[in-house]
Symmetry: C2
């Protein structure tokens, strides 16, 4: 079975890869970031993508969306530190087969991989419950603007980056602030990030 392992922290990646290689029929390829993983996916077929969410380049969710769009038969298992509700919904929408927290032991990861390969869905129960609660109120533009604002970019930078007028950029941020009951853009970004909507 060919597995692509995408995870940016080298120690975690190499440790997981070494362990998975101990399983007789697992053939593991490593990718250090989202971009490298995408290139691998384009070059050769894999049976399974095991990916972190937060990585430089592309996120695990974006990789799953690519696989879905290309109608590749590759199954996807996401592992992540944070059990943010927003991620779970987007992951399910992207056809992800498994969603685990790094809080789970490795045994559980191996058993999840095997379950997903037989076509089952394995979503951490705690996460699933969370995801049923509030859902992401932000539009895509609002999210983009908020993400840039959170990195300290000024309104004019954001407007330029999104090819819109400054007033529009301010408006998106204002809407985000209002939807999230925040005091200002920083507060809004903090709230959105905490919920996994950013």
């Amino acid at each position: 079975m060919k597995i692509l392992l995408a995870e940016d922290q080298a120690m975690v990646r190499t440790a997981l890869a070494s362990l998975l290689r101990l399983e007789a029929d697992f053939q593991v390829t490593e990718a250090a970031d989202g971009t490298a993983a995408l290139q691998q996916l384009k070059q050769q077929p894999f049976d399974l993508l095991l990916s972190d969410i937060e990585m430089p380049g592309k996120t695990g969710i974006e990789l799953a969306q690519y696989i879905q769009q290309q109608k590749q038969p590759t199954k996807v298992v996401i592992i992540t530190t944070f059990g943010r509700a927003g991620y779970v919904k987007r992951a399910i929408d992207a056809g992800v087969g498994g969603f685990l927290l790094k809080d789970a032991p490795v045994d559980q990861l191996v058993s999840a991989i095997n379950q997903v390969m037989t076509g089952k869905r394995v979503i951490d129960s705690e996460l699933l419950l969370n995801s049923l609660g509030e859902q992401d109120p932000l539009t895509e533009k609002e999210r983009q603007a908020l993400r840039l604002a959170a990195d300290g970019h000024s309104t004019s930078d954001i407007a330029a980056a999104l090819y819109i007028a400054e007033g529009t950029a301010r408006n998106y941020l204002s809407e985000a602030i209002s939807k999230l009951n925040a005091a200002n853009r920083i507060d809004a970004a903090r709230i959105a990030r905490q919920k996994g909507w950013l």
Copy 2:
């Protein structure tokens, strides 16, 4: 050789533990947080403590300080996600033998463990440079103001929290922005946090 492995993320902990156990003479005990690790240290002697910094209960640095105070012969290797300069200095002061980023592969961890056991110091070179380079230019008030601003509090909130006039609060933030070459308070907070000054 008896090793105590303290790391809160179960997947990372169990993966590292399994790999280290493959080495013939490594005997690994796991601790899921700082408090559990401290209890283990009190109950039995270890040759080496391998610890994350950021954990619930006690941090890896605090564990190293305990070992130093108790004059235990246990060596300490710290592994962490963020190479914040502030941590490195405190770790060296606490007599830590090794300081690695999770960005390093597992092989390097094993070789670092062996080196530290022979009495050598292994500090990630990038980290060492960082800690010797720039030093924190912020005054305590500036840091407090910046921390509150980063959480999305308004200037008037900050002024109230620090018992100063709004103008003063704005001035602290302005100085911080200027010292850090930032575009605004958010940018300044991001830079300061990244350098470990917040």
